[in-house]
């Protein structure tokens, strides 16, 4: 598999190699590589002349970034007050049954990862989750399982 190393250079270029764009650069890196790889952090440090420890600090501060690879489908399950009251715990159980992973983990085939988050700001749709920037609301355990199964099929199709 070809490592899209040139992608980070494109990202840096897009943001003008500017230190003050660090967070935007990291957001793009997260999107591209689904985590912040150590070699990429070092590379950004070299290119922007920022100590890597500082980038690591930013990368570990914000929940948007992760140090471990996330799945191709990143499930953010809301466990804010409204969603919690509306039964998000049962949704988590459904995800765990379907994918065999716990929050913070990623499936072996790197297809899915699941994280619990504080609030997605979609309380009217509680209980809710976000998968790759798409919001799913008014969920039930059964609906969650269906969504995941559908994505699995899509993923398999893509792979072929």
């Amino acid at each position: 598999m070809e490592r899209n190393f040139q992608k980070v250079e494109e990202i840096l270029q897009k943001h003008g190699y500017k230190k003050e764009n660090l967070i935007r650069i990291l957001l793009d890196v997260q999107r591209q590589y689904r985590h912040l790889p150590e070699d990429i952090v070092n590379y950004i440090g070299v290119a922007l002349q920022i100590p890597p420890a500082k980038i690591f600090g930013v990368g570990t501060f914000y929940a948007q970034f992760s140090l471990k690879p996330k799945g191709e489908y990143t499930i953010l399950l809301c466990d804010g007050t409204a969603c919690h009251m509306e039964g998000s715990t049962a949704l988590l159980k459904a995800i765990e049954e379907e994918l065999n992973i716990k929050p913070g983990e990623v499936t072996k085939d790197l297809m899915f990862s699941v994280d619990q988050v504080g609030c997605l700001g979609a309380c009217a749709l509680a209980p809710a989750m976000v998968i790759n920037e798409e919001v799913y609301g008014n969920l039930t355990p059964e609906k969650v399982k269906q969504i995941i199964r559908r994505l699995k099929e899509e993923g398999e199709k893509d792979a072929q």
């Binding site: 598999m1 070809e2 190393f5 250079e9 150590e38 070699d39 070299v46 100590p51 420890a53 501060f61």
Partner: protein
Amino acid sequence: MKVLVNGKEVELKNDSRNLLEALREAGIEIPNLCYLSETSIYGACRMCLVEIDDKEIVTSCTVKPREGMKIKTNTPQIHELRRGILELILATHNRDCTICERNGSCKLQKYAEEFGIRNVRFSQIKKNTKEDKSSPIIRDNSKCILCGDCVRVCEEVQGVGVIDFAYRGFSTQVAPSFETELSKTECVYCGQCVAHCPTAALTFRNDLDRLYQALSSSKHVIGIIAPAVRAAIQEELSMDSDTAMAERLVAFLKMSGFAKVFDVAFAADLVAYEEAHEFYQRLVNNERMPQLTSCCPAWVKYVEQFYPEYVENLSTVKSPQQTLGTIIKKIYSQKVGINPQDIVVVSFMPCTAKKFEAEREEHLGTVDLVLTTKELSQMIKASGINLKQITPEPFDRPFGISSQGGLNFGKTGGVFATVVEVMRDEIGISDEKYSDLQPGVKSATVRLKDGRTVNGLVVFGLANARDVMKKVIEKVIDAEIIEVMACNYGCIGGGGQPYPNDSRVRQNRAKILKETAGIKAIQSPVENYYLQKLYQEDFKDEHKRHMIHTTYKARKRVESNDIEILPLPKEDKTTVKVCLGTSCYMKGSYKILSQLVESAKKEDLGDDIEIVGTFCFENCGKSPNVMVNDKLICEATFEKVREVLKECQANKIKSQS
């Protein structure tokens, strides 16, 4: 300006940085855990609370004093707030005080005592942290109070930034990138984080056990004492400063089983003498200018990592520690007929980076053990011997006397001034001018009698050194010789010196060292009888002097794995590694890389090429670097690499047929 402090009229300086400093000048030390005069203001610990104008309670580090201000520094309410803060910090602090490296010198422990904390109302929470003992600097985050002093000193004063805050909320901790061990990072081991840490979250490796081992063996243990130690150790021993302090230490070490004790200041004379000649030679030939001093091991590592293209500019003369170790093991041992392997050289240093220096590959086996001023003072205290009551003894000959200059190596400007002293005696000086450029940077213009002019810069603090190097590279500033000491005020402010170790204390140490040097009868290394004897007898052959010279190398900042760019799962392939480290990157290695990837995809270069990105071949002086199989291509261009690749292909075809 006049203000009212606790009901009394007090005159404050008008230009103080903040209320905390203004009150400090007026004799009131407001409790604080995160304020440093040397760095930016952080305002995190909330200990420096004061009440202003009978209404608001604010942090005195973030407020400017103002005419007529009514300040209360110690109301029952403030006292209670401070106690609360201390209890909260203590609730998450590792409270193994009796077995802690900072027992007795910890600021948190001191405040807990002064504020009478005998009970912490909150239950103790243990943080899940690991100790890092991989280098002379030890990190233990279970003792960290997140004041950020180390983070700010490392980045702002030292220009390194190897540690920073990571994670968030209760999980926040100070760490290097990806929590790498310090030994695998760009840390220069200057120990300024240690010097400013209020607790034992950052300490240095204590090696006293190894000293007692050496003393209980049958080996010949030789002590060597650095200049800066004698200007600071009295702080630990409740003594006044004493110009005979070094001689008292000699007597103490002899009582403790040391066979001989030599003065590192003698080696400083030797280093200055040799370095002055090296410098004059380079000046005449106009080569490797500006010459950079090499006495400070933290600065040397800094150059190796951040200015690899200037590695050749470093003076090749070893540091005084390594010079003295070398002449003890190579010259003295022969004279007294002892096998060098039966000698243990123990150096007493103000410095944490000296522990690293002695462990550098090229220096191994020269200085066997490096102990800091703090460790020496521990040894003295444990012995129960009162230094005030012992009769001073002179250092042993032949490495026992030094000039004023040699002793002044312990503070900023000492090396440069001593090199100038040597030139004054050997070449003659017609005129000299000195001026301050910025705090921590002095400039000097010295006219030699042969008509040449020497522009010198004297720098302390690595962030200052970075500013100066930038100007040198951009040719904004002229310099033929640059002295850099990593620590503010020079070695007297080293990371192994007693606590507190702030600017106020350091200025006092500089004064003490100046006084101690001032009573030395000889001014210049040229007048040092034993030094001259060494040159006449042992260094008569010029090649013999090589023993006190060394080499440096460009050094990678981070340990990291190669990056697979175009991997090829094939046995018989040609691997092209392109360096993406700072120097190579700056000189366009990425462009070479993308051209290679492009060509490889089109199979212009054959179908068996694997491309790998790597960080640093430690050959930054000739960047950009590309490696084809085992062959390193310096100052590479795409064309050069292509030529080498073509050769490889041709050879392969030949060997196949």
